[in-house]
Symmetry: C2
Subunit: 227 residues, 2 copies
DNA sequence: TAGATTGTTAATCGATTAACAATC
DNA sequence: TAGATTGTTAATCGATTAACAATC
């Protein structure tokens, strides 16, 4: 009796933690994004449940890792059938993108920019690139894969009007810093930066940087050693 | 005297470790790549030395982290002037890319592929994309940013002939698995995969995957919480 | 010498994995 | 029930950071 009560208390307090402070580990968030992706894609319509080891195999992870991640978001499966695919997809969506979704601006409509617009907007996610920006007159006021390309001058105005919360920077490196400043002034809360210029940014804004050269050099190093 | 001897022995054995088994930590390799990048770019010609705290500041790291990484590759600076920029650039190049350099093939000449070719080949690195591949007749046998685009049929032949050791996959997701198989048969030692299809690959080949959606969703999640 | 720096070990933090109880 | 699974804690592994000796 005393023991049962104890378990209840522990349970309640761990839920507390999940609801209040939240902040899942970075790696867990990355994997949740991948779980959703493969659930959306790799699962035939008639399949409604999936086991942790199935998810794990598709993504080269361990089943424990999958279960632990799902534990952290408070999602339970059944020991018989595993996890309900649809519910899981929706829950991950709510946790990562937020229920209402978020609007994204992309700055720099070069090859990389076009690739990103097309790739991101064809996924059914709550995130949507709603506007692109460039300074090149050949690009301004034309459509790129279904969204409008505005002149860069309009970034602040449109970002505020549309309540854009995320900016993707893929301009040439030398413009990166001023673009980031402009995004922050426009009220953006997160930035994904594909240029090689490391940004100095307030803690209020979440910054994620990606550089292909680094990925490629990592492959170069480890493929060498891996003999 | 005994003490001095002791230090010498320890010193020798740690060098041993560095030379033989090597295998630097992943994170260290990533940062080394970034050190070289900013040293190449951010340093005016007349500046010949740099302190760990200067490097750290440019990349949002701590000086200790920088010094520890450089310790791991066995590079020493001077307490007066810091690290010699040119020597450091070259040493990192040798460690990461290998002295002789490595040749890279890129498969899938879409927007992303073109962006990567241009971006990678303009850096002065020992890594070079030497051939692109596609199946689209409009692209085959034309130049893309200075390199030739071959028909995908020729991948195995050319990869062997040119001794290509790294492959970059940026084809549509559905072709990814067969491209990876072909690369591996052609003797490639490392693969950088930009498609969302998780690959199943032998341990002999180093695989690095990158998915933009995951990066973007990470930004979405953490910018939300970061209020 | 005092101050600034490098180089290195030990402590800490965070993420993964091993072990196992609980459940169907 | 036996077997397969989920859910969770504790142990382990790896990466970062704090602390400090050594050096210029």
């Amino acid at each position: 009796m005393l023991c049962n009560l104890n378990i209840l208390v522990i349970f309640a307090s761990s839920l507390q933690i999940l609801n209040n402070m939240s902040q899942l580990p970075e790696k867990t968030v990355e994997r949740l994004s991948q779980y959703r992706r493969i659930l959306l894609k790799a699962c035939p319509k008639e399949k409604q449940h999936i086991y942790s080891h199935e998810i794990a195999q598709l993504l080269h992870l361990t089943p424990v890792q999958v279960r632990r991640d799902l534990m952290l978001i408070g999602y339970s499966g059944s020991q018989r059938k595993g996890y309900e695919i649809n519910k899981l997809i929706h829950l991950i969506g709510e946790i990562i993108d937020s229920k209402e979704g978020q609007k994204v601006a992309l700055i720099g409509v070069g090859n990389l920019g076009r690739a990103i617009i097309r790739y991101v907007n064809k996924k059914n996610s709550n995130l949507k690139i709603v506007a692109a920006f460039d300074t090149n007159p050949d690009k301004v006021n034309k459509e790129v894969s279904g969204i409008n390309c505005y002149h860069y001058d309009q970034l602040a105005k449109i970002a505020k009007k549309e309540k854009i919360t995320i900016g993707i920077i893929c301009v040439p490196t030398e413009y990166c810093v001023s673009v980031a400043d402009c995004l922050i002034k426009s009220g953006v809360k997160g930035i994904l930066n594909f240029t090689a210029a490391p940004l100095n940014i307030s803690d209020q804004v979440f910054l994620e940087e990606y550089d292909m050269i680094t990925s490629l050099e990592k492959v170069a190093y480890f493929s060498k050693e891996n003999k």
